[in-house]
Amino acid sequence: MTDEAVVRVDSVSVRYHQNLVVDRVSFTVARGAVYALLGRNGAGKSSLIRCLLGLQRPTSGQVFVFGEDVWRHRARLLGRTAYVPEACDAPGQLRVRDVVAFYKSMYPAWEESAVRDRLARIGVSESATVAALSKGQRALFTLALALGSKPELLVLDDPTLGLDVVARNDFFSDFIGELADRGTTVILTTHDLAGVEGIANRVGILQGAHLALDEEVEQMKLERGQSLEQVFTDITRVSGRLP
């Protein structure tokens, strides 16, 4: 699996002053896998994602993407990675076509026609301003932008947060189509356990700064006879606090 690993997190710790939020976390993500990184709020997911993207240097340990240290080679590696933030971060007053043009200027491998098709399919007009899009459209627009660069690695941070059921289903359908067509490697964080249960091949659960579980989803369900939600609840309830 080492050869096939697109991401290798090697004993990563993140500390803010006295607060250790990620404690010696290690895991790998194989090529073509969908890895769901779960944990309650404050479990260290966002810090870990920032380390993965090369936006933050781990206090100790390393993250390797495509076999290279992310922090040292982040500029080069970011060209092969796309990030879908929790909320669309494009300025609201910009028109869709301007945002697309900006992305196009950054990525040499930009898929102009595929992005156009995708926007037409989700009913996003290129002359609309970002602010005029519905929440669901903004999520799909952000996904379309991320996929436009034909990423080998896609990182999504709670992409369906706050979407209604229709928008959420549209999002997952689009996302699954991408998996089927290109076999993109994916890491996503989410609170939508039901949504990712059928999509993730592997799951990692962060609890109290540690990676409390790192298993193949189907194997985990078979061995434990429990759904992902049950396993997640069991593991994260340890702290004794209510969610």
Binding site: D181, G198, E218, S227, E229
Partner: protein, 143 residues
């Protein structure tokens, strides 16, 4: 039988991601059920991996695994560059599988009827009526 809608696979193959059974096995079981009940006949096309995965909202690799197992069992066949179809010549093992599925479904039906306090006679009549309806639909299906 009404022509299946393009997006109806999620109705025909019930998949519950929260069910502890692996999803590939739920898909496999669902397709086996459709085959055993002749809802899918020999030579019928099955949806592409992409289509079924999108419709069921599961990972394409999971659908692929279910298909591979059914191809391995001789129930489905891949026609290069064309798609996946129900085998024109289903293997002999299908008979015992059919018996098993029918027994299982009969058990479900019987327990439902008993729960609702139905007499055996009423239950039998309902079965015969359903049988008639399906048979006449199949005859009118042009297959």
């Amino acid at each position: 039988m009404p022509t299946p809608r393009k997006d109806a696979w999620s109705d025909r193959i019930p998949v519950q991601p929260s069910d502890p059974r692996p999803i590939w096995s739920q898909i496999e079981e669902g397709l086996r059920r459709l085959l055993a009940s002749s809802a899918l006949a020999p030579g019928d096309p099955v949806p592409s991996v992409r289509e079924l995965a999108t419709d069921l909202r599961v990972n394409p690799a999971t659908v692929s695994k279910a298909y591979q197992r059914l191809v391995g069992a001789g129930l489905l066949e891949v026609r290069r560059g064309d798609g996946t179809y129900v085998s024109a010549t289903p293997p002999a093992v299908r008979k015992s599988e059919q018996t098993r599925l029918i027994r299982q479904a009969a058990m479900n039906f019987a327990s439902l009827a008993i729960t609702h306090g139905a007499e055996l006679k009423t239950a039998r009549e309902s079965l015969e009526q359903a049988w008639e309806e399906l048979s006449s639909n199949r005859r009118g299906d042009g297959r």
